[in-house]
Amino acid sequence: MKLLNSEILSNQQYGPGIFKMELFSPYIVRNVMAGQFVNIRCAPNDGTDPLLRRPFSVFDIEERFNVFSVLYMVKGKGTGYMSSLRKGDTVDLAGPMGSGIDLNTGSKDILLIGGGMGIAPLNLIAKMALARGKNVFIMAGFRDSSLLRWERDLVRMEVKYRIFSEDGKWGEKGLVSEYIFEGDRFYKKHEIYVCGPVEMLKIIQEKLGRYQISATALLEEKMACGIGVCMGCVVKIRGKNGSFSYKRVCREGPAFELSEVVFE
């Protein structure tokens, strides 16, 4: 983990209100593991508004060019500022952060279930798993077709996938979480990673729970520091015998065993 000033190689619209920023950073590219994120300062110089850094999953890396990218949706001041930056500007960022996912071990079959912007970290997991010769299957659901362009990336990765959208304008019509688990066979043989809105995670938790299938969820929580010192980004994690504890998304996470997460 390092503080870096990275140059923007491109910062282009990816879909309505969604941008992809490509940054030059040999350090991030060399060190990042699947599931990790970078923490970006979103105020110019010594500006104090917004004050805190903003966390973004690493979406993709291009090892040959020492380039990594983040895919982000413009929500407020921080992402608004990011979208105003241009090629050649530098970004004050720190990373890679969070405990990464080790894809060198584990099952040969990976199932990634994503909802909306939740596909951002899954994209890197897919890429890295494929590079390790694993079979990757992606199921992703969207409200609309804002992220349509992502399909091109999937095709290029030569990965198997099914897309669902609520309005049916992209892929199959419906919700991933509804579609899933018509049976448990298929799911049992996969190592499963899930990332998406809490509502979706809850349904999947419930469904997988029925068959006692384990899965890894990538969680989000508001962060102050991103490095584990403030205890701000905790989620409630079930322990043994009905106990629980608060774990930090930025350190112990963002990846947690889905069945242990207590959604409130």
């Binding site: 584990g228 010192v229 608060y246």
Partner: protein
């Protein structure tokens, strides 16, 4: 051209000696392990640990963080592993890293403070001072903060000082008008210094759900937004000259640190800035040194309390 190669940075607060006035605040730096990745925390005047209670505490339900204009609201709720975890796990690491340590503790009763003091007895030679976080809820007063009632401050300080012969720092909240009185009673009970300010009570609401943005409804405000408030409190307390003051609240650069020194603080804590500029401690230390050199000031003490007030007639 420049004669002052190495301005003296040493400061002293009663019996407490810091190698420089740049310290980190409780709860914003853990024990320095995370920040050690960014710079050598042994360079700091001191590292204040997170606040420890006797037993582990889970803390408040999330969400615990909410950003506000130039500030941060938090409702961590003092999550910590308990004092033993500090003694056996973190202290050895901190010593190894060469950190000068201020150990922050809190109890919910005077009794709990005493019990923690008892545990610290063995390690007292390894820490510079103990800081009593008296902004925590006092269960014997219906959950009101200890520092809301100066007599409660006195009770706690009395009992800790009587047990420990290491310097005691009393940390106060800005939300009470009893600061001077608390400081005075703390002095009488043998405290060495006052740390101020803890966070300011604040709140934020999500208008879409009509729910508070913090799991605990209200929380504590920190960051640049509170700096003017902190500075006024530190100034007012330093004017009374009751005890030496460790100042904190919104320090994001060496210029902020200088403001606090000028109004009379002898050491200055960096809090929220540790979340944003991970190397801020080292940066401020370097910038302070460079500033003194440029201004040809050979000792940082020459800045402390140098405020020039010419009350003009209106």
């Amino acid at each position: 051209m420049n004669d002052i190669i190495r301005p003296s940075l040493k400061v002293q607060l009663g019996k407490i000696k810091f190698k420089n006035p740049v310290i980190t605040c409780s709860g914003t730096f853990s024990h320095g392990e995370e920040h050690m990745v960014f710079y050598d925390i042994g360079k700091l005047g001191a590292v204040t640990t997170k606040s420890y209670s006797l037993l582990p505490m889970k803390g408040n339900p999330p969400p615990r963080i909410c950003e506000t204009a130039s500030g941060v609201l938090n409702s961590i709720g003092l999550q910590n592993d308990g004092i033993d975890s500090f003694i056996y796990r973190h202290l050895p690491w901190m010593k190894g890293a060469g950190a000068s340590i201020i150990l922050s503790i809190f109890g919910r009763t005077t009794e709990e403070f005493k019990k923690i003091a008892l545990r610290i007895l063995d390690i007292k030679s390894e820490i510079l001072a103990v800081e009593l976080n008296l902004s925590c809820p006092n269960l014997e007063q219906g959950g009101k903060a200890f520092c809301a009632v100066p007599e409660e401050v006195k009770r706690v300080v009395d009992s800790v000082v009587s047990m420990l012969d290491i310097p005691v720092i009393v940390k106060l909240s800005p939300d009470f008008e009893t600061i001077d009185r608390s400081a005075e009673l703390a002095r009488q009970s043998g405290a060495e210094a006052i740390s101020i300010i803890n966070t300011v009570v604040g709140m934020a609401v999500d208008i879409d759900t009509a729910k508070p943005l913090l799991g605990n409804v209200t929380g504590g405000l920190s960051g640049p937004a509170v700096k003017p408030i902190a500075l006024a409190r530190v100034y007012q307390l330093c004017q009374q000259d009751i005890l030496p003051v460790i100042a904190m609240g919104g320090v994001f650069g060496y210029r902020d640190l200088l403001e606090f020194l000028i109004v009379g603080a002898r050491a200055v804590g960096i809090g929220t800035a540790n979340f944003v500029q991970y190397d801020i401690g080292e940066r401020i230390l370097n910038d302070l040194t460079a500033y003194l050199r440029e201004k040809k000031i050979d000792d940082v003490n020459k800045i402390i309390g140098r405020l020039k007030v010419e009350k003009k007639q209106a």
